[in-house]
Amino acid sequence: MALTYDDVIAKYEPTLGLEVHVELNTNTKMFCGCSTEFGGEPNTQTCPVCLGLPGSLPVVNEVAIESAIKIGLALNCSIAPFSRFARKNYFYPDMPKDFQISQYDEPICVNGFLDVEIDTDEGVKTFRVEIERVHMEEDTGKSLHVGGSTGRIHGAEYSLLDYNRAGIPLMEIVTKMIPGTEKYAPQVARAYVTELRDILRSLGVSDVKMEQGSLRCDANVSLSPRGSGTLGTRSETKNVNSLRSVERAIHGEMIRQGNRLENGERIIQETRHFLEESGETRPGRSKETAEDYRYFQEPDLVPVAPDASWIEEIRATLPERPSVRRKRLQTEWAVPEKEMTAMINAELLDTVEATVKLGADPTKARTWWLGEISRVANEKEVEAISLMTPAQVAEIILLVASGELTDKLARQVVEGVIAGEGTPREVIEKRGLKVVSDDSALMAAIEAAIASQPDTAQRVRDGNIPAAGALIGAVMKATGGQADAARVRELLLKHLGQ
């Protein structure tokens, strides 16, 4: 009988380790002036340096260093007063020089931490994830495997290489071993990567798109028998390219390891690949010999020694930490937890905030962006922000607040703006969506409504105020929704002696 997740947790304690690689969004590559633009024609963003041509030499991108320092500071790291690049030597066709310029024993940032909050059975608990290091390195090229089942490495007849991505600046963020997460290990891992992603985005240093590979996570897990005080052998799962997958991969790997241990089998220290479909991992191709990277200091580059004043300058520009900002906005806007989460998951927090900053009511702003606009965006498979600007949404909300539009009319304005009919004002003009605020026109409609529903009118005269709703509805219908409902109600009640 195979162990379930709960069985595994009952017997074993998990220890996590997470390595995140993030591509920076600098204009140029780490060591050359080639563009980093995503999606170019193959081999159009290469030069002697990033192709590793004989004789070429690397020169460090200054913005990449600044980004590394920003990341380190945001993760509470110390910034090394002296750090160096090293060569990691191994042969692989996607790596033009057959060594990767990376950092080894002298990384730029060390000893940080990141606190994440998890919903536990005992309420919200904070887990501290300690960061061992943040270091700079370069990305590899991309290979296309042709023949066999195309796209897969195994069974391919040959491979085609595009070096446009070779040399893109990469930051590797490595945690220390994370003990004590217990059954929440998968959630802690996910929360950590999520918080990290949010921080990186708020710093503006990366696009952090897991699906495009600009943020990649390798997850290490090991299990040790409860109370044994020993540390189990770990596996390293690669190819985890969504937040949900981070959680699933660790969950799956814990079950796999637990069952192996239960059957008296050894855990092999190895690299495994996450399989999206099944949520399981499969072993990577094992190497005949353990790799020996023969690290040594990169002789073509000189040390990076940021002075303290520069570091402080950068520290002063750091934005508010996303988790702090989230709490602040949640309080300021009085948003329920669930809606706040929805807004963050939809990546609309910045957009809503921008709309609110233009004077819109926070609840209205949230409702528009997450409601109607997101609905259309989903239909069209585009980003909500590509359909309307915060200024347009704020303008419409303010027109409703001042009574110039009703909610119903506002919906039509939004529809018109999205359809490309112009600015909100232009749509109102073209579609004739002005609220009917001429009292005499309204009175005519009110009298018509009373005439058609005399019994209802009588009930209102007798003091049954809620009954007025049916009459107001009739007036709104008669005016095509363009009447100001509040004004209609006011006039109607007055007319019926209330």
Binding site: T26, N27, T28, C32, G33, C34, S35, E41, P42, N43, T44, Q45, T46, C47, P48, L51, L53, V59, V60, N61, E62, V63, I65, F82, Y90, F91, Y92, P93, D94, Q100, T140, S143, L144, H145, G147, I153, A156, E157, Y158, S159, L160, L161, D162, Y163, T271, G284, R285, K287, T289, E291, R294, F296, Q297, P299, L301, V302, P303, V304, A305, P306
Partner: protein
């Protein structure tokens, strides 16, 4: 005693991606042995209180502005390729996993 065995040389040749015949391995093992005996003396000179020097110049913080410079044309980039297809470098099948 030999400083380096034939098996070690074979392992190094694999690490360095150089195919070697068995005669080559034998020959190289004995040559390397001589060379290593000759260079071994660095250890007697180098005491721990002497810091290592990796670079003759005391330079630091040499960087480049983050400004795009025109890349090579794809024709130039691929001009030396032993084989190419679809504007990409064509290489034999890749068997092992990347790092």
């Amino acid at each position: 005693m030999a400083a380096i065995s034939r098996d070690e040389v074979a392992h190094l040749a694999r690490l360095a991606r150089i195919e070697m015949s068995s005669e080559e391995l034998d020959h190289l093992a004995s040559e390397l042995d001589q060379i290593l005996h000759a260079v071994d003396r660095v250890q007697e000179a180098a005491k721990d209180d002497v810091p290592p020097t990796s670079h003759p110049l005391p330079l630091k913080n040499v960087t480049r502005p983050d400004v795009v410079i025109p890349s090579l044309s794809p024709e130039d980039a691929l001009s030396g390729a032993p084989a190419s297809d679809e504007q990409r470098f064509k290489v034999p099948q890749i068997l092992g996993d990347a790092e």
